[in-house]
Each structure stands twice: as C-alpha cells, then as structure tokens.
Symmetry: C3
C-alpha cells in the first residue's frame, strides 16, 4: 500500500470565499503514483469546509445565501464569550461538512462530469491549512 500526504495553505482576502481545488487535488493524485484508492480532502480548521458541487457562480452565491440563512452571523453566540466572533463559521462548517472522500480510479479522481471540489472559507484573512491524503496502490 502506498500513501501520499500533502498540506495546502490558504490565506483568503475576504472573510468568506469558495475556492475551486479540483485541479490541485488531481495533481496530488498524479504525484502519489496511486492508481486505485481513496483520496481524503479535509479542512484542518473548524471554521472552513470542503464540499463537492457545481462550479457555477450563481449557485455559489445561492450556497452563500443559504449558509447565511441557516447559520447566520450574529452577536449572540455563547462562543463569543471567549472573545471570538466567528460562532456562525463553526456552524457553517458543520452544515456543509469539512471533508470529502473521492475514489481514485485508473490514476485519476473518479468524479462525475459536474462534480467539482471546493474549499469553503468561513473565517478567512488568516493562514488556514487543508490536508490531502491518498492511500491505495
């Protein structure tokens, strides 16, 4: 069994950003030399997410609005008693998920035609880490 681990750092200009990372992940699959296996893509912070959906600007704006509606920003989170102001970002992480597992088949990410991998930053303007781990043969 082979394994390959890669860390990527983000430092977004905006508080919230949705960054297309499919090519970056595919590049790591290539570098791993793994032909058949599983590829984990996981945010290493609790105020960011990783999800798979469409690379369409209107939909990304819809996702943003939806996350704001179901996990709104606000002053009232108990978590803010610690001095933090990002309670909503923790809930957005839980709502959209912080990781995906993608099959690796024949040396490539085995995604459907519209499936794109996104890193979703919910509390940016600081250095954040993501891990890509591939195991297989």
């Amino acid at each position: 069994m082979k394994s390959h681990t890669h860390y990527h750092y983000f430092n977004t200009k905006k508080k919230r950003e949705y960054i297309l990372i499919t090519d970056m992940v595919e590049k790591q699959v290539n570098q791993s030399g793994i032909k058949e296996g599983l590829c984990l893509v996981s945010a290493m912070h609790i105020t960011a997410g990783v999800y798979i959906n469409d690379a369409e600007a209107g939909l990304i704006a819809d996702i943003e609005e939806w996350l704001q509606k179901l996990a709104p920003e606000g002053p009232d989170y108990r978590h803010h008693r610690t001095g933090e102001t990002n309670g909503d970002a923790h809930l957005k992480n839980l709502l959209i998920g912080h990781q995906v597992v993608v099959p690796v088949t024949d040396g490539h990410l085995d995604l459907g035609p519209w499936q794109q991998i996104y890193y979703a930053e919910f509390d940016g303007r600081r250095r954040k880490r993501m891990v890509i781990k591939i195991i297989g043969e």
Copy 2:
C-alpha cells in the same frame, strides 16, 4: 491491497425518490473478496445524495418534508439564470451529504442493526450514476 469499483445507474420515475441500496452495496462487498477495509458509496451527481438512516416509511416522509423546509424548491435561485430549475436539489445534496464510508469487517458491511444505506434522488427522471469503491484486503 485489493480494490473493487462498481458503477450503478438510476433513472427514477419521480423527481425525488429515496431508494434503499444496502443489499446492492453488500453484494459488491461480496464480489470484491475484501474481508477488512473501507467501502465508499458516493453519488456522482450534485443533485443527489447518499445517506444512512432508518428504513421506515414515516421517517422517509419526515426527511422529505425536512429537506423541503430547509432547502425549498422555488423560482428564485441565482443558479436558475443558467436555465436550470434545480437550485434546491443542489442544496439538498449539501444538506444530507453525497457520500458515506462504511467499514468492511469479516467480509461484510459493518453496520448497526438499524443502519440502512439510501440513495436520495433530488432531480430525477434522468440517468444518474453512483460509485461504490471498496479498498482493503
């Protein structure tokens, strides 16, 4: 390390359907010959989900109502400017998740007594693909 990949196609009669697939996945585990490993079950479209919960008709109706409430159908999604009408299906996919990873132990899916695997179609009446990938030994 062994690996086994299987694609299954759905073409539902209704727009939304919840299809029990535990036996189909178990059959692939059997065919793989893998005794100890992990089994990924993942929708390859961004308007369908895969989840684990109870095979009880009332609960499935509750899940449907809940998804409609938190990710409602409607004309107002920005995504619809592309000509699509399925903005809600994308959000339902994000809410319920598009994949599960199930342990394979002693040659079988290692599920609890009430855990059943479901394919959840949110924009059906067309050909959709799902992947089952098992790795292990």
Copy 3:
C-alpha cells in the same frame, strides 16, 4: 495492509450529550500500529452523530441550540406512528453527520490544532455503539 477495528459503547445519562473522544480514537491508532492510513469514526446508530469541532463549552451549547432549531423535537413526526418519539434525533443525525474520516500520519491522528472529535448523542439513556476502523500500513 493492516486493519484495526474497535467498538465502543456509550450509555449516556442525558438524552443529549456531546462527548469528547479524540484521546480514545488516538489510543486506537496507537494500538493499531498503523503509521500511514485513514481512520473512520462512525456512529452505528441513526440517532447519534460524530463530528469534528472545537472543545469549547459555549460553542457546544450553541451547537445544541442550533440543532434544536433546525431539527426540533416535537410530537408531529410521521415516524412517531411506529411508537417512537425520536424523529428529531434522526434529523439531527442527518444534519451533523454520523461519521468522520481522519488521516493517520506518522502514527498519529493528523488533526489541526483546534480539531476535536465528538460523539453526539441525540437519543441516549440506552446502550449505543460506535466503530473506529483504521486501515493503512
């Protein structure tokens, strides 16, 4: 390839509890002898979850309130016609997720500095099972 499977039983005093399990999972990684791989942590019931977020009491109270808001307790679930009273716990499971996959790197859980693994019980006061499965080398 090596694999290691461990079952843990919970029997909470309260209906809902959020139990920090990072150390328990790390201990299983140690016992497995696996240096590079993937670790699946998964509830084996459909009324409990496993998630990764912050070990901060205020935030946990925020998560509880949020889950109650988006998947409220109530008498009206169709699932209750079976005699059950835990419809909300099924939806909370779907909202927060029932499993996480954590990378194992250099013999340890490869988590970010604030990432903690939690078992979230939504229908306790009974014996519930969780599985930890590690594969790798």
